[in-house]
């Protein structure tokens, strides 16, 4: 039997439900590779999970969390969203050097625009875009970004399905079939 090559995959699950009341169950369900926290009442789990593929890592973490009654996964956050200091770390540059790249005062210019939080001091970029701009992108990273986008669409559909009117449900189904 060929042993699958394991890699460590990092991602964040945004959760609903009373996580603090169920930490022991989460640990017993194998989520000891997750770190559970909350920001303003929104619970999350940062996972660093070993698995052959990202999809298996996310799938098994999602299933483990949802074995606990009352807990649901709402969304997956990849580290695709990055701050300026994340970019500096990933490119192996100083933050000042990245600031100059972003401002177009150094390098070839045309740095990708931030995805959100433009009018704040915490602008967020898509790492997949920055990496492509910097010439350090790889096909696996792009595939990961696409996988997570599709999984988030599915999670959103799951959350919304119960509220959908019959005609909207029919339209969603036809969109899925036309994929």
């Amino acid at each position: 039997m060929v042993r699958a090559i394991m890699a460590e995959h990092s991602f964040t699950l945004i959760l609903s439900g009373d996580v603090d009341a169920h930490l022991d169950e989460l640990f017993e369900a194998g989520c000891d590779d997750g770190s559970f926290g909350a920001v303003d009442g929104v619970a999350y789990a940062d996972f660093d999970r070993e698995a052959p593929t990202l999809t298996e890592a996310i799938g098994s973490a999602l299933a483990a969390v949802e074995t606990v009654p009352g807990l649901r996964v709402l969304r997956i956050e990849p580290d695709d969203l990055v701050t300026m200091s994340d970019i500096a770390e990933r490119l192996g540059r100083t933050r000042e050097s990245v600031r100059l790249l972003v401002a177009g005062e150094r390098g070839p210019g045309d740095f990708p625009p931030p995805l959100s939080h433009l009018r704040t001091r915490n602008r967020l970029w898509r790492w997949s875009e920055v990496a492509a701009w910097a010439g350090v992108t790889d096909g696996i990273a792009q595939a990961h970004a696409q996988t997570i986008a599709a999984l988030n669409a599915a999670l959103e559909l799951r959350a919304m399905a119960v509220h959908l009117a019959p005609d909207a449900r029919t339209l969603v189904a036809s969109l899925e079939r036309s994929a």
């Binding site: 996580v19 603090d20 930490l23 022991d24 640990f27 017993e28 000891d32 590779d33 770190s35 559970f36 926290g37 909350a38 920001v39 303003d40 009442g41 940062d46 660093d48 701050t83 300026m84 200091s85 994340d86 970019i87 500096a88 100083t94 933050r95 000042e96 990245v98 600031r99 001091r121 915490n122 602008r123």
Partner: protein, 84 residues
């Protein structure tokens, strides 16, 4: 502020000291698998495992929570200051 003892895993303890230095409160609560909790006091919290699967990764998650805290003063915000 620290309430309770040190974490037995040195990476995790270092992250808790970092949190403490950034005005988070680290409290030993010791129930089940939870060693304690770190809170910023204005809406962020992170549960600390006694025996995380990988203490280094757990420590990194604590650092990340502290660094990403949206309640810290503006001049401490991530990345866009001039302290890089």
């Amino acid at each position: 502020m620290r309430q309770g003892g040190r974490h037995p895993k040195k990476d995790v303890e270092a992250a808790l000291e970092y949190a403490d230095g950034r005005d988070w409160t680290v409290t030993r609560t010791a129930s089940g698998h939870r060693w304690g909790v770190a809170i910023c006091g204005r809406g962020c919290s992170v549960s600390i495992w006694s025996t995380p699967k990988n203490p280094g990764n757990h420590a990194k998650a604590i650092w990340r929570a502290v660094d990403a805290c949206p309640h810290s003063p503006a001049d401490d915000e991530d990345g866009e200051g001039h302290h890089g």
